[in-house]
Every structure is written in structure tokens, then in C-alpha cells.
């Protein structure tokens, strides 16, 4: 076949691309990493240390670069974090391969190696992690862990995600949010609820320092009350489905096709004693005046999904005028210059909303996505466990069964030791490559203190060989998340190895994926 614009096939271009991307994001890696400051010609400014955002902001035309960015994006959608670790691992794996093979490289070699990588990924990886990491992790846990497991997990995640500074504010916030929802019960169910509805259970307020963030009782509706009055301990809330029409019957003499008849609303308000009206649509002015005259709270133009969630949590019942739910209280929150309506559903007293503040859209967005990621991470700790027996304290059980490890390189060091030990009899070449490649992650984490890295390594070696054991504390991370990362990196490396030819075609690009390469 005719090949146009053939660009250096072999390992060199993909390795260079990965190394360049790694160099671009490495400055933001780890708790002590910095941020990148992007400016646009329009004057827009973006300050971020999120690997995926940085990669999306770079201008990349090389097909290998686009492939890698797509792989990172896919991985981040499944796991909540790890874009920078992904690039670190991928680049060190490829450079180990290149050093190993050097000049004797051809496409047949590459294809065979790709097959072996995938073989290891599908069959060997789980075994390695079960024998080499999980067992050692559970024996570490026997020594005893100081502190709360949820707090350890969130702290470990946040430090790597937003850096030490904002993590000091956001970690206790997320922990408190979880505690309010769980109400002292140490189960995994509250996490599942928060994870599913996170976009409705948080409110972002711009223009305030991050320290003003907090956890508010009930559901926050993101708009202020049009009319607000204090009401008693138990109130009936009428959620209107549509705009109110003054005509006696809807559809007759009325221009809108969906509206609620006003007489029905009045009847409902009287019979049920509903003194709070919530509506997704804008109500006419005379409704507002009526509400003010009769001391009825009114909030309009609300998010329909939040209203649905409120009805779900409040166990609403349908009426001709709309849905009616019971609430413990209604409040008006004041945050700086912004006022927000909050409703506490009666049947879900543990419902709380996370209020996140930030000085500008950039840092605020970062805090929101970090909190969302932390909740997703907590949820993933239990996702792979099929036999979810309702343990009294599922977090301690996760720690004891070896699913959690200290942050800072424990996983990588244990994996490295096991792959090179005589206990593992899998593919020797791939094992050696992977063992050397995984050390790049803790190496980069502790690059400012290489001695600390060596001490950590020695500490784990001692622990493994039955050395002195003592209780430990600090950030935690999930073994399942690390396994997912390794698997994604191996698959991406295999994809890069099987690219034989790059054909440049002069055709309009699709927005989602470039059509410029073929295996």
C-alpha cells in the first residue's frame, strides 16, 4: 500500500511522545507538586494541577499523543485519579523496553511483546497482586492502624490530587460529609448514595475563600427563596410540576399546554397545610403576591433533578396539584453575598449538602472535582468485592483483608520485590520490565528526598521478612485502584507497540478520535 508521510516507525517516536507528556505533567505530581497556569488569547486563565486537564489543554497533533490522551481519559473515567501516574508508568515501561532491546527492534518483536504484555495483564496481574501485595498488606494491617480508615483514604487521595495546602481543608470536609450521611454506622451504603447523587448533593459558591466551605443540613436548592417565612418543626412541601394557570381547568382558555390549575393548588395548600411551594418553572407575579400575603414560602426556577431527589428522599406522594413531601425545616443560607434555600426532608434526616467555596472558577472547579473524585474513590474500594457481606465496620474489614495500603509507594515496592523474587514464576522478561518500571512512581514522589525512598524500601523489606511490627498511621490508598492503573498502562503500551504505520490522510477530523493511524 502507498504510504504517505511515514513518520519514524519503531519505538522512538512513541517513547519520545510519552516522555514529553510526562515532562509536561511531572511538575504537578505528588503532594508537593505545583500547578500550571494557562492563559488564552481571550484572556481566560486556568490554574490547574489535574493531569487530565493539562493534557486536554495541550495542542497535540501526533497520533500517538492523541492515543495516549484518550487512554488516560478512559482510565480517569473508571478510576477517579491517576493520570500523572499513568504517564510516569507508561514512559518508564517503554524506556525499559527500549534499553532492553536497543537496535534489535522490528515490528515482529513489538507485536510479540505486546501479546506478552496483554497476556500478563489478563492472567498474571491478579495473581501477582493477590500473592505479592494483598497478603503483605493484610499482615501490615495486623500491626494496627492509628486513626480512622475513611480519613486515611481521603487524606491520601486529596494530598495527591490537590496538594498539601487545599487538602488540609478539603479532607476533613469530605470526612465530615460522609459522617453526617452515615450517622455513625460504618457501612458502604451511604457512600453509594453520595456517589450516585454527588452532582445534586454539592453546591459551589464562587468568590469566597476555600476555608468558608462546609456541610449544610438538608438539600440546598441553589437559588434563593422568592418569599421566605419561618415555619414550624414540620412543614408540608408542595412541589409544583409546572407554571400555575389561573383558569379553572387546564387547557381551556390557556396558552400553555402544561400548567397547573390554581384552584387545585389552593385546595391542596388548605387541606394539607402546605406552606412551602417549590417549582421548577417561573410562576406568575400574582402567585408571589399571594404567597407573601399568606406567609407561604416560594422558590422558583429550581433544578428539576434536585426537586426529584427531594421528593425521593422525602417520600413524596402525588396529588392533583403536584407532589407533596414532608420536611423537618426550611432555611435560608447566607454565604457571603449569596443566599440559598435549603430544605431538610423529614424521612431523610441524614441528608446533607456539601458547600464548596473558592476564590474563582478555576480553584472552585478543582475543589469540586477533587471532592467528587474522593467520593468515587471511596465507592470503588468496595466495587470489586463481590461478596459484600454487611460487616459491622466495612472499612476496618477492607483494611484487614489487605485491600488498603499506605500511600507513598508501598504498592510499587511490594510489587517490585515480589516480581523479582523466586516465588513468582511468570513471564520473566515482562516481570523484570514491570518491576523496574513501577519504581518510577515512588521515585518521583520522593525525588526531593531520595534517602527517604531508600528507607521506605528497607522498611517494607523488613516488614515482609517478619521484622518488628508496630502500629502505623498516615494516608491510605486502594489496591484495586492501583491494579486498575497497571492494567490500563499495560493495555496502552500494547496498543502503542502494535502501531506499525502512520498514514496521513487529508480528510476532516472527527472531533472524538483522529482517523490517522491503523494497526
Amino acid at each position: 500500500p502507498v504510504q504517505q508521510g511515514r513518520c519514524g516507525v519503531g519505538m522512538q517516536p512513541p517513547l519520545l511522545v510519552v516522555s514529553a507528556l510526562r515532562a509536561a505533567v511531572l511538575r504537578c505530581f505528588g503532594p508537593r507538586g505545583g500547578s500550571v497556569f494557562f492563559t488564552r488569547d481571550t484572556g481566560d486563565v486556568l490554574v490547574t494541577r489535574h493531569g487530565q486537564k493539562i493534557l486536554r489543554s495541550l495542542q497535540l497533533e501526533h497520533p500517538a499523543a492523541r492515543l495516549i490522551v484518550d487512554c488516560v481519559h478512559t482510565h480517569c473515567q473508571i478510576a477517579a485519579d491517576g493520570s500523572k501516574s499513568f504517564l510516569l508508568l507508561l514512559s518508564s515501561l517503554l524506556s525499559e523496553m527500549v534499553s532492553c532491546c536497543g537496535a534489535s527492534w522490528d515490528s515482529a518483536t513489538a507485536r510479540r511483546l505486546a501479546q506478552r504484555l496483554l497476556q500478563f495483564c489478563w492472567t498474571g496481574l491478579d495473581d501477582v497482586i493477590a500473592r505479592g501485595v494483598t497478603q503483605r498488606a493484610s499482615s501490615l494491617a495486623i500491626c494496627g492502624y492509628h486513626g480512622d480508615v475513611v480519613e486515611g483514604l481521603v487524606r491520601g487521595y486529596m494530598a495527591g490530587r490537590v496538594g498539601d495546602g487545599p487538602a488540609k481543608v478539603l479532607s476533613p470536609l469530605v470526612c465530615r460529609f460522609y459522617q453526617k450521611w452515615s450517622g455513625g454506622v460504618r457501612g458502604a451504603e451511604p457512600v453509594a448514595v453520595i456517589h450516585t447523587h454527588f452532582s445534586l448533593l454539592h453546591t459551589a459558591v464562587s468568590g469566597l475563600p476555600i476555608g468558608c466551605s462546609g456541610v449544610a443540613e438538608g438539600l440546598v436548592l441553589e437559588r434563593d427563596w422568592s418569599a421566605f417565612f419561618e415555619h414550624g418543626p414540620r412543614v408540608e412541601v408542595l412541589v409544583l410540576a409546572a407554571s400555575v394557570c389561573p383558569a379553572a381547568e387546564p387547557g381551556r382558555g390557556c396558552v400553555c399546554d402544561r400548567c397547573v390549575a390554581w384552584p387545585q393548588v389552593c385546595v391542596c395548600a388548605q387541606q394539607l397545610g402546605a406552606c412551602v411551594l417549590l417549582s421548577a418553572a417561573k410562576q406568575p407575579d400574582w402567585v408571589l403576591q399571594w404567597a407573601r400575603r399568606n406567609r407561604v414560602c416560594l422558590a422558583e426556577c429550581l433544578d428539576p433533578e434536585r426537586l426529584d431527589l427531594l421528593c425521593l428522599l422525602g417520600q413524596s406522594r402525588p396529588t392533583p396539584a403536584g407532589r407533596v413531601a414532608t420536611a423537618t425545616s426550611v432555611r435560608r443560607l447566607v454565604l457571603g453575598g449569596r443566599r440559598l434555600a435549603a430544605v431538610v426532608p423529614a424521612h431523610a434526616p441524614r441528608a446533607h449538602t456539601l458547600l464548596l467555596c473558592g476564590p474563582g472558577p478555576g480553584p472552585l472547579d478543582q475543589s469540586v472535582s477533587a471532592c467528587r473524585g474522593a467520593v468515587a474513590m471511596l465507592h470503588h474500594v468496595f466495587e470489586e468485592d463481590q461478596s459484600q457481606s454487611p460487616a459491622a465496620d466495612c472499612w476496618a474489614e477492607a483494611l484487614g483483608s489487605g485491600r488498603l495500603l499506605p500511600v507513598g509507594g508501598a504498592f510499587e515496592l511490594l510489587l517490585h520485590d515480589f516480581l523479582l523474587s523466586s516465588d513468582w514464576t511468570g513471564d520473566p522478561q515482562v516481570s523484570r520490565l514491570l518491576a523496574r518500571a513501577v519504581l518510577s512512581v515512588p521515585g518521583a514522589l520522593h525525588s526531593h528526598k531520595p534517602r527517604h525512598f531508600l528507607q521506605l524500601h528497607a522498611h517494607f523489606l523488613r516488614q515482609g521478612s517478619g521484622g518488628p511490627s508496630r502500629p502505623w498511621s498516615g494516608g491510605l490508598e486502594s489496591v484495586a485502584a492501583k491494579r486498575q492503573l497497571l492494567s490500563a498502562v499495560l493495555q496502552c503500551a500494547a496498543k502503542l507497540l502494535t502501531v506499525e504505520t502512520v498514514l496521513r490522510v487529508h480528510a476532516p477530523l472527527r472531533t472524538s478520535r483522529s482517523d490517522e493511524e491503523e494497526d
Binding site: 508521510g5 513518520c7 519514524g8 522512538q12 517516536p13 517513547l15 519520545l16 511522545v17 516522555s19 514529553a20 507528556l21 510526562r22 515532562a23 509536561a24 505533567v25 511531572l26 500550571v36 493539562i54 495541550l58 495542542q59 497535540l60 497533533e61 501526533h62 497520533p63 499523543a65 524506556s95 534499553s99 532492553c100 532491546c101 536497543g102 534489535s104 522490528d106 515482529a108 518483536t109 510479540r112 511483546l113 506478552r116 520473566p428 522478561q429 523484570r432 502512520v502 496521513r504 490517522e516
Partner: protein, 214 residues
């Protein structure tokens, strides 16, 4: 060491020392290139799908649509680094090597730098600029002089030719003048030119001493 053999039953052999050196040097160069590329990408350069014809490095494109090859245009290439015509350090290194080769060895243990024609990272040139070599300095009169104001010349035993003496004095005088001007100079251009003059004076003094010594 290869993956292209029968991969079921081959034995991986670790690379030899020489191969390790090559791998290491290549890796360092790649690291430099990728670090530079990462910096340029963050500055808004676009990574193209094309490679440079000379060195096969991936090309970058700036906002003015001009293509840029990081290794050709920014990194010193491996060859140019040791070409005396292009690099002053390589030139000094060659001069020093010739001097060392022309002096009698006198049973001193030869430095590793003397025998090698092309130091890997111009270590010879760098150390030549740093100061006089410890054992060799004793052999000949002021074998290597740093490009700083030379102290009073060490008189050898034989009587120097008057022309050489006067030439030496004139050069020293110019050296002193250049040093004073350098201390007072506030402009970069002038300072660079004065440093060049001082280096020229040092070279002249060295040649004069060779003549005196021979």
C-alpha cells in the same frame, strides 16, 4: 540480549558495560529532549505528527506556524560539541591535550584524560578551565594557566631573551589594563570583549613561556 529470538526459551543477558554506557548516554539525551519538549508544549507549542529529517525527533510548531526541532536547534549535538571550530571549550581542550602530549611524562601516573582523544562530556575542557592540573603543573613551568590575571611569571633557570621579556611585559601590562576595565565595566558587550582580550593575553603568555622554556 534480544526479544527477537525464540522467546519461549531464551535467556536474558544483562548488557555489557560498554552497552550500558551507550544506553545511559542515550537515555540522558532523550531525557533532555523530552524535558525541553514538555516545556514547549506547556508554552503553547503544537506537537506535530512529523519528524525532523536530520535527527528523527518529533517537530514542534510555534504560534507563528514555524516548525522547530528541539534537538537540532537547541541541544548541542554530540558531534558539534567536540568540534574545535565550533566550540571554544573543545578548542581549549585540544590545546591542553597537545601541551600535555609534548611535555615529558617524568614517570608521573598519566591522567586518564591525556590518552583519550574525545572526552565524553568535555570533562577535559571543563577541568582545563578550572585550574592547573595537580601533578602535571610541577613538570613544566605553568603548564595550564586559567584565563584570569596571571600571577608573576615563574622564571626558569635559563636567561630569557630580551625580546621575549619585553613582549611578556607588554602582554602583562595589557592584561592588567583589561582586568581593571573589566572591573569597572557595566556593559555586557564590553565585558565579553574584555574577557576575550584577557583570554588572548593568557594564550600569548603561555606561548611566550613555551618559547622561553624551549
Amino acid at each position: 540480549m534480544a526479544l527477537n529470538a525464540d522467546d519461549e526459551d531464551f535467556e536474558w543477558e544483562p548488557p555489557s558495560d560498554a552497552e550500558m554506557k551507550v544506553i545511559q548516554a542515550r537515555r540522558e539525551r532523550q531525557d533532555k529532549i523530552s524535558k525541553l519538549m514538555g516545556d514547549y508544549l506547556l508554552k503553547g507549542y503544537k506537537m506535530l505528527g512529523e519528524c525532523c529529517e536530520v535527527c528523527q525527533t518529533i517537530l514542534l510548531q510555534d504560534k507563528q506556524k514555524k516548525n522547530y526541532c528541539v534537538s537540532c536547534q537547541e541541544l548541542d549535538s554530540d558531534v558539534d560539541k567536540d568540534n574545535p571550530a565550533l566550540n571554544a571549550q573543545a578548542a581549549l581542550s585540544q590545546v591542553r591535550e597537545r601541551q600535555l602530549a609534548s611535555q615529558p611524562a617524568a614517570g608521573d601516573p598519566p591522567l586518564s584524560i591525556t590518552g583519550q582523544p574525545r572526552p565524553e562530556h568535555c570533562e577535559g575542557a571543563a577541568s582545563g578551565l578550572r585550574g592547573p592540573l595537580p601533578p602535571q603543573a610541577a613538570v613544566g613551568p605553568a603548564a595550564v594557566a586559567p584565563p584570569a590575571p596571571v600571577p608573576a611569571p615563574q622564571c626558569p633557570a635559563a636567561a630569557p631573551h630580551p625580546a621575549l621579556l619585553s613582549a611578556e611585559e607588554a602582554v602583562l601590562h595589557k592584561l592588567r589594563w583589561a582586568t581593571q576595565e573589566l572591573q569597572q565595566s557595566a556593559s555586557v558587550e564590553a565585558s565579553v570583549q574584555l574577557c576575550g582580550l584577557i583570554r588572548g593575553c593568557a594564550d600569548s603568555l603561555r606561548s611566550l613561556k613555551e618559547l622561553q622554556g624551549s
